[in-house]
C-alpha cells in the first residue's frame, strides 16, 4: 500500500517537475494576491504586520485551490480515469499519494510566500517551531480535504466551480486555526498558538481518515 502511494506521489511530483505549473504559474499568482492585498489595504506597515498571518493564509488558500485543481485536471485527460481504476492501485494508496504530492507542492509554495511576507510586510518570526508545526499540520488538513473534493469533482464538467464551493467552507476552520497559530509566532498576540496546532492535528487526522475511506467509492464512475 505504501509502495503504491509512493508510486502515485512520485508520478505527480515528476509531472510537476516537468511541467512546472506550480512554480511558474501558481506561485507568481499567489505572490500577486499578497501584493494586491497590500494595495487594497492601503499599505500601512503596522496594519500589514497585524493582518499578515491572515493575509498569508488567504493567499495559501488561493494557491492551494489551484494546486488541487491541477492535481485533478491531469487525471481528467483522455482515458486516465479509466486507466486508474484498471491499474490495480489501491484507492486509499492513491489518496495518500495525492495527499503527499499536493502537500509537498503546497509546502514549497508556503515557504516561498513566507519569505515574501517577511520581506514585503516587514514581519519578524520569533517562534520557528510554531510556524513550521502550524504550516505542516494546516497543509495536511487542507490537502486532505482538497483531495477528497478533488476526486469527487473528477469527471464533472463544472469542476472548476464545484471544487472551490465544496472545499472552501470545509477549509475555513483550517485557515482560522492556522492564522491564530501564526499570530503569536510573529508577535501579534501573546496568546498561545499551540492549542490551535492541536486543533489542526485533529482536523488533519479526521480528513485523512475520511479520505482514505471515501477515495475508492468516489473514484468510481457509477
Amino acid at each position: 500500500m505504501f509502495a503504491d502511494a509512493v508510486l502515485v506521489a512520485r508520478k505527480d511530483l515528476t509531472l510537476e517537475l516537468r511541467s512546472r505549473v506550480a512554480t511558474n504559474q501558481i506561485l507568481p499568482l499567489a505572490i500577486l494576491v499578497l501584493v494586491v492585498f497590500a494595495f487594497a489595504l492601503d499599505a500601512n506597515t503596522t496594519m500589514l504586520r497585524i493582518a499578515g498571518p491572515g493575509l498569508y493564509w488567504v493567499a495559501v488558500l488561493f494557491a492551494g485551490l489551484l494546486v488541487v485543481q491541477r492535481a485533478f485536471s491531469i487525471e481528467s485527460a483522455d482515458g486516465i480515469h479509466d486507466a486508474l481504476r484498471l491499474s490495480g492501485l489501491e484507492p486509499s494508496a492513491m489518496f495518500l499519494g495525492k495527499l503527499v504530492s499536493v502537500g509537498v507542492q503546497l509546502l514549497v509554495l508556503e515557504a516561498a510566500l513566507l519569505v515574501g511576507v517577511i520581506l514585503f510586510f516587514d514581519v519578524g518570526i520569533s517562534d520557528i517551531a510554531l510556524i513550521v508545526s502550524a504550516a505542516m499540520t494546516g497543509t495536511v488538513a487542507f490537502a486532505a480535504a482538497g483531495v477528497i473534493y478533488g476526486v469527487l469533482s473528477l469527471g464533472v464538467r463544472i469542476r472548476e466551480t464545484l471544487l472551490p464551493l465544496l472545499a472552501v467552507p470545509v477549509v475555513a476552520p483550517v485557515l482560522l486555526a492556522a492564522t491564530r497559530a501564526f499570530e503569536p509566532a510573529v508577535g501579534v498576540t501573546a496568546a498561545s498558538g499551540w492549542n490551535w496546532v492541536a486543533l489542526l492535528v485533529v482536523v488533519a487526522a479526521v480528513y485523512t481518515a475520511l479520505g482514505l475511506v471515501s477515495f475508492g467509492p468516489l473514484l468510481e464512475d457509477g
Binding site: L15, R18, D78, I80, D82, A83, R85, S87, G88
Partner: protein, 222 residues
C-alpha cells in the same frame, strides 16, 4: 472449462442511455473474438463492461468467473483495455509513463523494458515527452502498457487505428501470441479484412445487443 466471458441479456447504461440493451455473449478461453457493427452499436461499451468499468443494471454478466453485477472491481487486475484514448500523461516521458503504469500493474522493470521493445519503441523515444509523440507512437506505448500487464483477457477497441503497416503487423502478432499463451482476446474493429485474418470467430453488435449471427471461421469475414 468455464467460459471467460458470459453475458446474458446484460443491460448497461451510459448516463440515461442504454448503451447495451440486452447483450448475450459467450467467449471461451484462448479465443480471438472480433466484434463488428456500425458506429454507436455498443462495441466500446461491451468492451468496457468486460473490463468491469461500468455497472450492469440488468441481466447476467460474468467475466473470468467474477460476477460483474456484484463485484466488478475484482476483475480489473486481470484484464487489459486498449481504448480509443491512450491514457498516458502528456507531460511525462514515455519512460515515466511506463514506469508508473507498469509498476502499478505489478510488472518488473525487465518486463517493462521487454514490452517497450516488443512494440517497437526505440531507446531514444523513451526519453521523449508523450505530448511530442505522434498518434501512432502513442498507440504503441499504450500497447506496451497492455503487454506489460500480462492480462488474461485482452480488450482492444480498434487496435489498428492510427498505426502504420508495421505497427499493425505488431498488433496482429501480439494478439496471436497472447491467445497462444492462454489469454483470451476480444477486439472491435472496422477493418474487417485484417481483423478477419486474426480472429478465430466474429460476432455482430447492433443496437446494444450482441448476437451471434453466424459463426464464421477465420478468413471468412466479409
Amino acid at each position: 472449462m468455464d467460459p471467460v466471458v458470459e453475458l446474458d441479456q446484460a443491460v448497461v447504461l451510459v448516463g440515461r442511455f442504454p448503451a447495451l440493451a440486452g447483450a448475450t455473449l459467450r467467449v471461451e478461453a484462448g479465443e480471438r473474438l472480433l466484434l463488428r457493427g456500425p458506429n454507436g452499436a455498443g462495441k466500446t461499451t461491451l468492451l468496457r463492461c468486460c473490463a468491469g468499468l461500468v455497472p450492469v443494471v440488468d441481466g447476467r454478466a460474468a467475466v473470468l468467473g467474477v460476477d460483474l453485477r456484484s463485484n466488478r472491481r475484482a476483475v480489473r487486475p486481470h484484464v487489459g483495455l486498449l481504448g480509443h484514448w491512450t491514457h498516458l500523461y502528456d507531460d511525462l516521458t514515455v519512460a515515466d509513463n511506463m514506469r508508473f503504469w507498469g509498476r502499478a500493474a505489478g510488472a518488473s522493470d525487465g518486463e517493462i523494458q521487454a514490452a517497450l521493445g516488443r512494440v517497437g519503441v526505440g531507446r531514444r523515444l523513451r526519453r521523449v515527452q508523450v505530448q511530442q509523440l505522434s498518434a501512432g507512437q502513442r498507440r504503441r506505448v499504450a500497447l506496451a502498457v497492455l503487454v506489460a500487464r500480462r492480462p488474461r483477457l485482452w480488450l482492444l477497441d480498434e487496435p489498428h487505428a492510427g498505426l502504420d503497416a508495421e505497427g499493425r503487423d505488431v498488433v496482429d502478432e501480439l494478439l496471436v501470441e497472447a491467445s497462444a499463451a492462454g489469454a483470451t482476446v476480444l477486439f472491435a474493429s472496422h477493418e474487417l479484412e485484417r481483423a478477419g485474418s486474426v480472429a478465430t470467430r466474429s460476432v455482430s453488435v447492433v443496437g446494444g445487443a450482441a448476437s451471434e449471427i453466424g459463426i464464421e471461421e477465420a478468413g471468412d469475414v466479409r
